[in-house]
C-alpha cells in the first residue's frame, strides 16, 4: 500500500504520547483521541492536526492522588509535547475501579 506523506506524518505525536504514558503509568486503560478536527482555525491549530487531544487513563499510580496531582503527573509526563506541538490536552485520570 502506498501512503502519502500526510498519512505518514499523522499520528506521530499521539504515538509518542502513548509510549510515554505507557512507560510512566503502566495503565489498565489508555485512550488518546485527536480532537484537532473540532478546533480547525482556532489559535494553535495546524493543518496537520495533532494539536488538540483528549486522554483518558486508568492507572494504580493515581491511587490516593487528588485531581490536581493526577493532572500534574500526566502533564509532566507529556511536558515536551505540551511545550511543543500540543496546544490543548483534556485529561481524565482515574484510579482502578473509579468511574
Amino acid at each position: 500500500m502506498h501512503r502519502d506523506e500526510k498519512d505518514l506524518l499523522m499520528g506521530t505525536v499521539a504515538a509518542r504520547m502513548k509510549a510515554k504514558l505507557e512507560s510512566r503509568f503502566s495503565p489498565e486503560l489508555l485512550e488518546i483521541v485527536d480532537d484537532s478536527d473540532k478546533h480547525k482555525g482556532h489559535s494553535g491549530s495546524s493543518e496537520a492536526g495533532e494539536t488538540h487531544f483528549s486522554v483518558t487513563i486508568t492507572s494504580s499510580v493515581f491511587l490516593g492522588v487528588n485531581r490536581v496531582g493526577r493532572q500534574r503527573l500526566v502533564m509532566k509526563a507529556l511536558s515536551e509535547e505540551l511545550a511543543g506541538p500540543v496546544h490543548a490536552l483534556t485529561i481524565k485520570a482515574l484510579a482502578p475501579n473509579e468511574e
Binding site: H42, R67, V68, Q71, M75, T90, I91, K92
Partner: protein, 114 residues
C-alpha cells in the same frame, strides 16, 4: 471585572491578585469575550453558579502568561484560584461542576452570591 496585567514582576502580580480577590480566573481573553474554548467553558460554569470572580487575561502580557504556569506548576490556561488556593484547570472545574462538588466547594468558601 478585569484587572489589567502590567506588573513589574509577574509573580508579585499573581500573588497580590489571588490575595486581594476571593475568586480569580487566569484565562485567555476576558470573561465577556473569552478567546479560547476552555476559558469560555470555565467562565460559563462560574457564571452559572453565580460566583463573582476576577478574570485576568494572560494574553495581555507574555511574562504573565508564562509566569502563571511556573507559579502554579501547571502548564495550561485557564487556572482557577479560590481564596488563594489553586483549584485546577478547565477539566477539573468541569468535573467538579458535574459532580456537584464545585457548588459545595464555593459555598464552603463563602463565594456564592445570594
Amino acid at each position: 471585572m478585569t484587572d489589567s496585567a502590567a506588573p513589574t514582576s509577574a509573580d508579585q502580580f499573581i500573588a497580590k491578585t489571588i490575595a486581594d480577590h476571593a475568586v480569580v480566573l487566569f484565562m485567555k481573553g476576558v470573561p465577556d469575550q473569552p478567546r479560547c474554548g476552555f476559558s469560555a467553558v470555565t467562565v460559563q460554569i462560574l457564571d452559572h453558579l453565580g460566583v463573582e470572580f476576577v478574570g485576568v487575561d494572560v494574553l495581555q502580557d507574555d511574562d504573565l502568561r508564562n509566569g502563571i504556569k511556573t507559579f502554579s506548576d501547571w502548564p495550561t490556561i485557564p487556572q482557577l484560584y479560590v481564596k488563594g488556593e489553586f483549584v485546577g484547570g478547565s477539566d477539573i472545574v468541569r468535573e467538579m461542576f458535574q459532580s456537584g462538588e464545585l457548588k459545595a466547594f464555593m459555598a464552603q468558601h463563602g463565594v456564592l452570591e445570594d
